[in-house]
């Protein structure tokens, strides 16, 4: 059952719509607006990244999609179901893994899968089969009977994913699933995510790792409850970066960065950011073409050798920070 790809109808919602729909979705807690008129669709089989700083409204959005809390306004549909009125039937088709990996440490890996399978109402017979599929999918062979407490981070994480999908959900919500997991395990985990997506499962994932966000097919940036940008990672780099990034190589990066920060503080050069990257310096300027010359000139006027200065593609993290931070915080970012 798990290994059979979903048909187009199964991937989509009841009426062939997108499996996840939010329209002007809003959540107020008293005076505080945690989620503010957020609209997005996730397409069948898509891996969608939902990104934002802490407290931006990411988890609140997921909880509304899961039917755990009631929206204050707006519309939500998950697989065509209304999470508010059709919670139970919807939850039978939806998987959820939180950053806390709610596993029972005193059960073995296999027992955890069994437990979650029974919670989701799988028959013992169906579960016997499904259990083995999950163990294989999560690469837990040889560890099935290890106490969960004794599994390392990467194993636990894959087990938690296995438990979250034991009922073959068509939509999966992953809330910071890779927090605290090492680079190699993260790669394996993303391999699993795409294996599921390739079979038609729709996936929403939140993460603090911007290099992981680059792996999503589409991402939405949420800040202070509002959706501030949405698109493929490449699109956002083209359209949402305020300014352009220059990378400077010099034998004296520490002295050079002091000089550039001075220029920024005095306003003689309009830097959005000046930051040390190891032996290099990154500055964000309104236009690379226009400011490449003046930056080089400033450094050379103080006898600082510029071995190389080039316009580089921003990372998704550059774009994210440029999109979400407000001007008042800018002084903080530069440490002035």
């Amino acid at each position: 059952m798990a290994n059979k790809p979903l048909t187009a109808e199964e991937s989509a919602g009841q009426n062939g719509d997108d499996p996840v729909i939010a329209e002007a979705l809003t959540k107020r807690f008293g005076e505080f607006i945690a989620v503010d008129r957020v609209s997005f669709h996730i397409h069948p089989g898509e891996v969608f990244g939902w990104l934002g700083p802490n407290g931006a409204g990411k988890t609140t959005t997921i909880r509304m999609l899961l039917g755990l809390i009631r929206p204050s306004a707006g519309k939500v549909r998950v697989l065509g179901f209304d999470p508010v009125t059709q919670t139970k039937v919807m939850q039978g088709h939806v998987g959820y893994m939180s950053q806390l990996f709610t596993l029972y440490n005193d059960l073995t890996a296999r027992e955890n899968i069994h437990f979650y399978g029974r919670v989701y109402g799988l028959s013992r017979k169906a579960l016997a089969l499904r259990q083995e599929e999950i163990i294989q999918m999560a690469g837990l062979e040889g560890r099935e009977d290890t106490l969960t407490a004794n599994l390392s981070g990467g194993w636990k994480q894959r087990l938690a994913l296995g438990c979250a999908i034991v009922h073959n959900p068509r939509v999966i919500f992953l809330d910071e699933p890779t927090a605290g997991v090492d680079a190699i395990s993260r790669r394996e985990f993303w391999g699993l995510i795409y294996a599921m997506a390739n079979k038609g499962t729709t996936i929403l994932v939140t993460t603090h790792y911007m290099d992981e966000a680059e792996l999503c097919q589409r991402v939405g940036f949420i800040n202070q409850g509002q959706l501030v940008a949405m698109g493929t990672p490449d699109e956002l780099k083209q359209t949402h970066m305020r300014g352009q990034v220059l990378e400077i190589d010099t034998p004296e990066p520490d002295r050079a960065v002091r000089l550039l920060k001075n220029a920024q503080a005095k306003g003689s050069l309009p830097f959005d950011e000046v930051a040390l990257y190891g032996a290099q310096i990154h500055v964000v300027v309104p236009s690379a073409d226009e400011f490449l010359g003046p930056v080089r000139k400033l450094l050379e006027s103080e006898a600082i050798l510029v071995s190389n200065i080039v316009w580089i593609m921003p990372t998704l993290e550059d774009v994210f920070i440029s999109t979400v931070r407000d001007p008042a915080e800018k002084a903080l970012l530069t440490g002035d």
């Binding site: 680079a183 993303w190 390739n198 290099d211």
Partner: protein, 320 residues
Amino acid sequence: MSVEVAISTQGLVKRFKGHRSTVTAVDSVSLEVKRGETFGLIGPDGAGKSTTTRVILGLLRRDAGTSTVLGYDSMRDVYEIRERTGYIAQQFTLPADMTVLENMRFFADLHGIPRKLQKSSIAELLKFAGLTEFTSRPAGRLSGGMKKKLALACSLIHKPQVVLLDEPTLGVDPVSRREFWNLLGNLRADQGLTIFVCTPYMDEAERCNKVGLIYKGRLIAQDTPAAIKKMVPGHLIEFKPTKFEPARQLMTGLPGILEVQTYGAMLHLFVDEIENRQKLIESVLQGQGIAWSGMRVIEPRMEEAFISLVKRQEAADHGQ
């Protein structure tokens, strides 16, 4: 011992004895951090980062080798080291019911700084960390990013020459993480502070002058980020096949393909030479009716380099 060296270890070993077996948490680690350098000790959970840090600081006894800070021996000269170093332990938490200012005073008192001198240095550090407006807020009510900045400010109260930070950005969002690293950049550029950072985040390596990659207790590489990225074999080609698993299997073992890594829906192939190998890859995919998109040559990042180095290490271990 040259004064230019801030931290040095030679053949450092730390073992932990269990009931049944002994675990070698730090296995012959030799590293050197020069004054004014930002050194990143980078590796997965359980690789030995925290243990190495604690042995360097004299908080744990070493079993073999040497370790020094500013020329002082980690085991013999504990007090000399403590006076000259700042340390943020992993998941360190500040007293939550004490305000920002009370926390700063508490750390100043611990270091025996006279109250008279405290006022100006605390004000300076609060300004540096962007916490001046939050002086009377309880530490427990600060955001995650601000807590980390306060911890950093507290670790600097006695004007150390070296700070050791154990996963200081764990669980912090990208905006706060960038702010924190910009603060470290200022400390390096303005004060010449030596900074030793443990982190599992590969992208943070880019913000260090020098990086040590640690895996299963062993230092598998130690160099500048640029030099480490050059340690990957050959060139890197990226593309997204329509049929992932069949494509991955096809690529493994093709002539000139040195290594295959997966990256989400994409494959990363390390090749010995670009032009002919790209043609070969395309013709093999075509022959099997597999389409692809976005084939391009990319620069390997620290993460690709790390994975490649770990794989080689494991292959060498298995070969023994």
